[in-house]
Amino acid sequence: MAGFSELIKNFGKTRDYVRDFFIYGCKVRSDFDRKSVRTYGDEKRRVESWMGDFMRYDDSLRGRSVSISVDSGHIHENPLYSAYYSKSFTDNDIRLHFLITDILHDGQSMTLKEIVDLLNNDYAQLFDEQTVRNKLKEYTEEGIISSEKQGKTLYYSLSKDCTESFVKKFKGLDDALRFFSETRTFGIIGNSILKAAGLKNDLFYIKHNYMIHTLEDILLPEILSAMEEKRYLALRTFSEKRRRSPETADSENQVVPMQLLVSVQTGRRYLAAYIPELKRFSAFRLDYMKDAKMGGIYEDYDALHETFLKNMSHVFGVSFGMRRFTGTVTPMKITFFADVEKEPYIIERLEREKRCCTLEKTGERLYTLTADVFDPNEIMHWAKTFIGRIVGIEGGADSIRERFYSDIVRMNRMYGGDDDEHIQ
């Protein structure tokens, strides 16, 4: 494997592989037909290096399959953070990093020329002014270095916020970092602070931890900036079909981003956005998103956002359905059986999980949930967690009710029950 490097340039490619190893868990080399042998070997080796004991290998007639098996509710640190810590760089990058921060170590301000001279004279390192200027500019944007103009000359100094002393100064911040470094949305940034301060999380576990989400965080800064600046966003997405057929092209969508929708139960995250071309809202899965690029200002953003929020009160999960407004389909009513004396926890469950629906007692041990939502189909995945208690379903769409009835017939047959002609 000549030429292998632990470091990566292209985060997108790595995201793609890790997802396949992580989600599917039993693919062999030949399943990755959209990639070259060399790429597969290199990506696999990197993932093995990051995941260590969490890698699992199974031999079959088709070859050796590679998967990631981890009880992510019982780990102190998301091993996929390593992907972020693997960015490649040049020799000049690392040399200049340590030399410039060393030169500015005492807090003094210096000009570009003074820094270049010191590099040459005190460290015997020859760098042209342009290279050093570029690095200083980059580090100023990163907030590592501050620049200040005195007259016509720029003076550079090192930021005064040393990570270690900053964390120590604010009592409790260390434990907050330990916790937040493993939570959703940029936990990786918290982890980078912990590491810089020489700390580790050894206190907290996260249940239902979808650690693969961290790889989608790479897209978020651009999306969040587009929301804040009320701009269009150009999305490049692919579908599940594309994973099976490499010929299928990516889709491009010009959208106006509204909000990020996070499911803590299904492992999916979406961007809810308005598609001007179709004049409707839709939700795009982040794990099917290749990249996102900000565009021009969307003039009517505030009014659009207000409409979006109104619409969201009729969304059970993330689907806006195919209708523009609710009211064109009868609200769905699902009636559940529960004995308040013996099973108060069932009513508690309904109350806490009903989201935008309403719940009322409609009879002796009967509770009816009313859902006036764009896409009643979304409710059924959740409603099936109450299998054994659903007394009746009314409204919604005929197809949804029929599918539920036929599902129960199939399940009953599957688990050895009798066919019941009444519910065919």
Partner: protein, 333 residues
């Protein structure tokens, strides 16, 4: 400004650690790389640090064969703008109050006054979190949380009183092992052992929100406790075995939803079906069961027999309920 940047990278971090000492040696370089690097870093990184044909020039060799850094001082790691923006965003998260008091938070806010938050909470919406999560702003809750967290850190024995999920009043002495946060429930829990006569009697989990009292007894639990043993004691004796069919994109949906479980998967090439073994906490069996049922006929619980039987009974009852409804509908017509 991007978190995918070499300045946060493992190689930079290892180099910074080694540059912390004026003089080091090859052995220390290799050991540090082995300990702090990726699995294969020892094959690639030492030659970049040790003077030779490929090195970065961060060290020179002394006459004694040691390695002297070319810098004058130990490297300073400063907080970047991105890290400050993240911290600023966390200031709006009510959970930060569990760790820091109001005065400290005000000071931190003041220190970050010229930083804009990386995101606002309005930019995100959790679609399916339960509505009865913990009240992170309650003074009692914060006090109980801190006592529990302190006990986790110090292994101090605590006396605690709480009401269990089944409504039973429980009190006793506990040793607390780890804190757990559930994003789905919006709740903190603590893994614990109940003590009787200073010996471990049983394992359990206490919801911080259910605590009515928790006090440090001032005594430390000195018996070594293995968190792995704790989890092993709660783990199912047999994994759930699930047949997942490709209908309705079932494989992708199932694999993603259950991605957080330890599992083993086998694929049947002809049918495209997957057989998945899932290991779970036996005390979460009902939760697992209802999540599995929510997939409908797309999956089938093959075992263990107890879990399959629970599914069978619920489905049978459901089929009967629907038959009754159809019958009533028939009569009504």
């Amino acid at each position: 400004m991007n978190i995918f940047s070499e300045i946060y990278g493992t190689y930079f971090r290892i180099a910074a650690k080694l540059l912390g000492n004026e003089v080091t040696d090859e052995k220390t370089v290799r050991e540090t790389v082995q300990r702090e690097g990726f699995r294969d870093s020892v094959l690639f990184l030492p030659q970049k640090l040790i003077p030779g044909s490929e090195d970065w020039g961060l060290f020179t060799r002394t006459p004694e064969g040691k390695l002297r850094r070319i810098t004058k001082n130990a490297p300073v790691k400063v907080l970047t703008k991105l890290q400050k923006m993240w911290l600023k965003a966390k200031l709006s998260d009510p959970r930060i109050r569990l760790f820091m008091n109001s005065d400290t938070l005000s000071q931190l806010d003041e220190r970050l006054s010229d930083v804009r938050p990386l995101y606002t909470k309005e930019q995100f919406r959790i679609t399916d979190r339960f509505s009865d999560g913990d009240d992170f702003l309650s003074e009692d809750y914060i006090r109980n949380f801190r006592t529990a967290l302190d006990a986790v850190k110090t292994r101090k024995i605590v006396f605690a009183e709480f009401t269990s999920g089944h409504g039973n009043h429980i009190s006793g002495k506990f040793v607390l092992l780890k804190m757990e946060y559930s994003p789905k429930n919006g709740r903190f829990r603590v893994y614990c052992y109940l003590l009787r006569n200073d010996r471990i009697k049983s394992s359990g989990i206490i919801n911080i929100g259910r605590l009515t009292k928790i006090v440090d007894t001032g005594r430390t639990f000195r018996t070594p406790v293995s968190v792995d043993d704790y989890f092993s004691s709660r783990k199912c004796s047999e994994p759930a075995v699930i047949r997942v069919t490709p209908q309705r994109n079932g494989v992708e949906r199932f694999m993603l939803e259950f991605a957080s479980y330890e599992k083993h998967t086998v694929r049947d090439l002809e049918s495209g079906e997957y057989t998945v073994e899932l290991w779970y906490d036996q005390f979460d069996e009902t939760e697992l069961l209802i999540r599995l049922l929510s997939f409908g006929p797309v999956i089938e619980i093959m075992g263990p027999p107890g879990l399959r039987e629970q599914a069978r009974q619920r489905i049978k009852r459901q089929a009967e309920l629907l038959a009754e409804q159809r019958e009533e509908d028939g009569h009504a017509r």
